[in-house]
């Protein structure tokens, strides 16, 4: 794991910052649930493209990986949207 972190240091830093910013604004926007939903969709979209770009840069990408990131993003977004309903 440390080797992986070292290799993709910048990518993980970007992801960490993006998730931290997202978490901050998601809490800050409460109780405006509509804004929270938009934010959740934005976060899911970002994560999906972050995964693709990171893998494309490391020249290791397959359809399985694309679908894996898509499914992970969708599940995360679904959980956050449903909790705001």
């Amino acid at each position: 794991m440390p080797k992986l972190l070292k290799k993709h240091r910048l990518a993980f830093l970007i992801l960490f910052l993006a998730l931290a910013v997202f978490a901050f604004f998601f809490s800050r926007f409460w109780p405006n649930k509509m804004l929270q939903r938009y934010l959740a969709v934005g976060m899911g979209t970002f994560y999906f493209f972050w995964g693709l770009i990171t893998h494309v840069k490391s020249t290791k990408i397959t359809s399985d990986i694309v679908f894996e990131y898509l499914a992970m993003s969708m599940l995360a977004v679904l959980l956050l949207i449903l909790i705001t309903l």
Partner: protein, 336 residues
């Protein structure tokens, strides 16, 4: 003598079925190996999609309880622990921070607040103005209160008074009402009921400053057109003599401080709050995924599997964030 191998056609009813034990099933689900292409089945995109449907199904099931009112009352109860006395104290504390005079409870405003809450339940809407155009000011007027300034704050489904006050103070328009120096009196109502099929606790705050007019308790049909307020929840009328209809409400239950508290839940106590039930279910899903990702990373590293899959660490970061937000998530809605 050569061994004869039995052959079974594809359509043979005697084709032996390979039994998968529960242990094999769990191994396949959580342990990376040859059978699942060195990735736990749970982390495969198709399984994640199935899991999404399970999440959706579980959520729908919790909400389906609302179609069985007696069951919903027994199992879910009402989610709110909001107390009218605390709402008044918290409101006046916010005003005291700015050096403003505390608001005084007014019985007519209490009646207006209760009438508004009950109107929302009976007409099934959640807004400052009803679909037929009934304004908050109409309830104040009907309670026999003549105002110079008036305002309304609404909230629903908050777990506690503190959370509700934080939400109001985070909203500029609601905060404006709470700390408006023009307001001197307040009416409060906390009412439980069913809104769009959901057990809901509505909180209504009616703020006002009395106008210098005389009341005339008559059944006069004189029209009374209130000016459209600049803000949807704040109104002002000129102080002049106006004849109004006074409607005595017999719906109020007056509490210790003369504030109105609506009917409580049937069960009298909360067995499971809907929001906590949903949160617990979702958190279980998140924990399951995180633990599977950690286990997968650990096993694949120890067994030195060479595979091309998504970044486990990134997925863990994502679901830790989701789990963190689910834990911190608070219910409650206010109208912007």
């Amino acid at each position: 003598m050569p061994r004869v191998r039995k052959k079974y056609s594809a359509k043979s009813r005697y084709r032996p079925k390979k039994k998968i034990s529960f242990k094999d099933y769990l191994n396949n689900l959580f342990l990376p190996g040859k059978k699942n292409r060195y990735r736990p089945q749970l982390l495969h995109p198709e399984t994640l999609m199935v899991l999404s449907f399970v999440v959706l199904g579980g959520f729908s099931l919790f909400n389906a309880i609302r179609f069985f009112p007696s069951l919903a009352d027994k199992i879910l109860g009402f989610a709110s622990n909001i107390d009218v006395n605390r709402v008044l104290v918290a409101t006046n504390e916010e005003r005291a921070r700015l050096g403003l005079e505390p608001l005084q409870i007014n019985e007519k405003l209490n009646q207006a607040a209760l009438a508004k809450a009950q109107h929302m339940f009976s007409e099934q809407y959640w807004a400052h103005s009803s679909p037929e155009g009934v304004q908050p000011w109409n309830f104040i007027k009907n309670a026999g209160y003549v105002y110079k300034y008036a305002g309304e704050n609404l909230a629903r489904d908050f777990d506690s008074t503190g959370e509700m006050m934080v939400a109001w103070m985070n909203s500029p328009t609601h905060k404006e009402n709470v700390i408006n120096p023009n307001f001197t009196q307040i009416g409060l109502a906390v009412v439980n009921g069913t809104l769009s099929g959901f057990n809901t606790t509505l909180v209504v705050q009616m703020f006002a400053a009395p106008g210098a007019v005389e009341f005339k308790q008559s059944a006069s049909k004189e029209s009374y057109t209130l000016p459209a307020p600049a803000d949807s929840s704040v109104g002002e009328i000129p102080t002049e003599n106006i004849e109004i209809d006074v409607v005595e409400s017999d719906l109020a239950k007056v509490g210790e401080l003369g504030m109105v508290e609506g009917e409580r839940s049937v069960s009298g106590r909360i067995l499971f709050s809907p929001i906590y039930l949903t949160k617990t279910f979702f958190l279980l899903v998140v924990v399951l995924i995180i633990l599977t990702l950690i286990y997968d990373a650990f096993i694949s590293k120890n067994r030195r599997y060479q595979r091309v899959v998504g970044q486990n660490f990134a997925h863990i970061m994502l679901f830790l964030t989701v789990g963190f937000l689910l834990i911190l998530f608070r219910g409650g809605t206010i109208i912007p």
